[in-house]
């Protein structure tokens, strides 16, 4: 198991390095000049050149990329200007290792940006996962054990309808009608536990989490139903019933355990994807999580932030895969990693 995890982590690091290089190359292949954006209006060619130098965009892409990698290991100073460091060291920002870069647009290190945005995305994601898992699995199991009844058909149809609505529609609907027009809840503003206590934090998550949960829940209802139905036809389940075990015990101990295995994979990957930012939901509700940070970075050509977020999301997905593989072994004794 240990060797397996180390091997997977090593491959993951190689993948992240490759991802950073691809992001660099793609960014510089675009016709957008980040120096023009930073230089502002009435920017003369001389000023633009100076801005390009100050941002480090005058260096070859490969040099910028290796500087970036060095920053992850050693940390970096911004601006990387020895003359300024000597004359006015207090103006230089030190970004300690692992340094993902410095956002000129937001005037802070990417690490600081991620540190601020991460709790927002984590909160929304956890709240959404709890909601969709609870209702998705519950409704999926209900549909499976009442297969063919009106309950089953009603749940499956509702899931299909929900699945057809994109998250921006659900989000806008909830915001426009539930919060603004009918004033059933306040217009959501992200509130930390320190600011509003547990209650304030939870209520601030309600609409964004419901938006995400409705989207994912629909898929989980259908998948849970399918997995449970499949498990119910297994020989060992029939055997359990034949032994006279109660229906609830058969369902929970035998059927659900087998049905959970593929769900764990999905949960892990979906959660990891959400942790990289629910771009649409965070943008609709103006929640400054990783998704909105990514959206803003793209619209402002903020390369350091883009790269930092690409690597962060990549890390989440790689780690989630490893964790899911390990959980497989815990849930299903037939599976052995390595």
């Amino acid at each position: 198991m240990y060797a397996y995890v180390v091997r997977r982590l090593f491959v993951g690091v190689i993948m992240l390095i490759a991802m950073s290089l691809v992001t660099f190359v793609l960014f510089f292949a675009s016709p957008i000049d980040p120096a023009r954006y930073a230089c502002g209006k009435n920017c003369s060619p001389e000023l633009r050149e100076q801005t390009r130098n100050a941002l480090g965009y005058d260096k070859p892409v490969i040099v910028q990329w290796t500087d970036f990698l060095k920053g992850i290991v050693q940390g970096r100073d911004y601006p990387d200007d020895p003359e300024l460091r000597a004359a006015a060291p207090e103006l230089v920002t030190h970004c300690p290792a692992p340094c993902f870069g410095y956002s000129v647009v937001n005037t802070k290190t990417v690490n600081e940006e991620i540190k601020e945005a991460f709790p927002v995305s984590l909160s929304i994601s956890v709240a959404a996962v709890v909601l969709w898992l609870f209702f998705g699995v519950l409704l999926g199991v209900m549909a499976a054990i009442r297969r063919g009844t009106i309950v089953d058909r009603g749940i499956v149809a509702a899931a299909l309808v929900l699945y057809a609505f994109p998250s921006f529609f659900i989000g806008l609907f909830l915001l426009k009608f539930i919060a603004i027009k009918w004033e059933l809840v306040d217009v959501p503003v992200y509130t930390t536990i320190a600011e509003g206590g547990i209650g304030g934090w939870l209520s601030s998550l309600l609409l964004p989490a419901v938006t995400l949960a409705m989207l994912y829940m629909a898929g989980y209802v259908r998948m849970t139903r399918a997995f449970v139905l499949e498990s119910m036809t297994e020989d060992y389940v029939r055997t359990a019933r034949a032994k006279g075990l109660r229906q609830n015990k058969v369902l929970v101990k035998h059927t659900m355990r087998a049905a959970l295995t593929p769900l764990v994979t999905l949960i892990g990957l979906d959660f990891a994807g959400l942790m990289g930012g629910a771009i649409i939901t965070e943008t609709v509700f103006n929640y400054n999580g990783l998704g909105k940070l990514a959206y803003d970075a793209n619209t402002t050509n903020d390369l350091p932030t883009i790269i930092g977020l690409v690597l962060l999301l990549g890390t989440f997905v790689i780690l989630a895969n490893i964790i899911v593989d390990m959980l497989y072994a815990v849930i299903d004794p037939r599976v052995r990693v390595g």
Binding site: T51, N53, L84, A87, T107, I180
Partner: protein, 582 residues
Amino acid sequence: MFKYRKRVLAASAAIALAAGLAACGGDDGGESSDNPTGDAAATGEAGGTLNYLIYAPIEHVDPQRIYVGRDITNFSRTVYRQLVTFPISTDPEVSNTPVPDLATDTGTSEQGGKVWSFTVKDGVKWEDGQPITCEDFKYGASRVFATDVITGGPNYLLSYLDIPTDEKTGLPAYNGPYKGDGQELFDKAITCDGNTITYNFKKPWPDFPLAVAGLHMMDPYRQDKDQGDKSNFQIFSNGPYKLEGTWSKNKGATLVRNENYDPATDDPDNIRRALPESIVFNIGQTTETIYDQLIADSGDAQTAVTGQRVPPAYYNQIEGAVADRSSLQASPYVDYLVPNFRNMTDPKVREALKVATNAEAWINAGGGEKAYAPAESIVNPAVVGYQDNPAFSGPQEGDPEAAKALLEEAGVQTPFPITFTYPSSETADKQAAALKETWDAAGFDVTLDGLGDTYYDVIQKPNKESDVIWGGWGADWPSAITVTPPLFDSRINLTQNSDGQDYGAYKSDEFNSLVDQAQEAGTLEDQTAALQEADIVLGQDVAYIPLEIAQFYFLYGSKVTGFTTTPASSMYPDLGAIGVES
């Protein structure tokens, strides 16, 4: 699209037209507010919390880096006082005439506008109670030169202040206060004698007070508070409000009373009434969400104003009682087209393009008269010395037949292929299609080339394939010197690698010579006359084709009092006058 400040010391004709546009908008369809022209005499109530709703994050709150009209005026009225500033008034002539703020008067000039002096008032203080000194103004100006650290702000001082140019970099030999290179040159160019600060320029700057009032580049800055780039989101106030906590780029901030602000050193009635007890800048909600809340008039939206324009899809919801809370005024911005002079070399072809341009169809496709007003020059009517450009007077619905005749005269093969490049959006695509219709009917064969984020990078390339290019502009201060020269002076724009802001690669010795005349003029009158003549040359050459003036159509909450937009506030809500029911 660059949407920056423009305001104006208007000539009488300009005032008449601006007022006309305002009245036209205000009376439209019964949707004028109870205060349609933003009557500054109608003052708001004191107390309460005013909410200012903003969609996109503010890029800079550092005074030397602020360069967006809405932000310039918001901070002028709240936290950043200036040597001179523009007063609250709906009369452009009044609103665009600088009045003393931190200075005792509006400045004195010598040597034909090459030397300007101001005396700082006694008793003016920073938020920590320390006095604002002449040295603070000098230090503030020095930051403009640190262009490798203080990026993105207005840089006019670099070309005006009497500091030699470094031949190697093409930039001033002084590089700001941080590294110290060339400090002695700067110390000669700006001097302090007691409370009197003197600026020495290498060329006349007759409208310098307008520039001081129109931007924050000349604002004072306390050296001990300067953290370079790290100061980008820090506010150290000298106005009636100060920052509570920190400024969050993506969330905004709250401004509360500054106890060290002394209204006796200000002119509260005319500059800063400072009515709300606090002002909350709420950043990040989409324009649609902002308008959903304003229309519903729910919660904090009752005490909210915004600088976001009503989206065309919401026009039909602004009726009845909601319309009483609306304001429709002409903005300081003009949108225009430029022919690419590298490709469209024949003047008759350019003339045909102009004649065939259906600006009315463009306006209608973009939302009609609530979205745009007709334009007859690239210079906004509110700018000092505005005059209609005779090349663009008359009907603007396009005349395909006349254009066809011009193309025949030019002897070019028709259909004449052209590519129209513009920043793509759902609305802009419709507008471009509307233009294409009459251009095609005139004998052009138009390819629409809508671009996304790459727009400005593409149109600035000398080897672009575009034949007609869209642009948008507003004056930095109420003078055409900040409009036509930056956009059409080939000497400052065209280089081997870039066309700068002269997207059409227009090059004219006659125009450049008139720009020189304007820049060497010792008086505003002489400068204005040269710029008026320069605009006529641009019209004759069809260097541009005006499309429209964007309309500022705003809604505000029912508990907002004294809602006012003024030329001083670039026609955004003027926080100097607005209050809320407390």
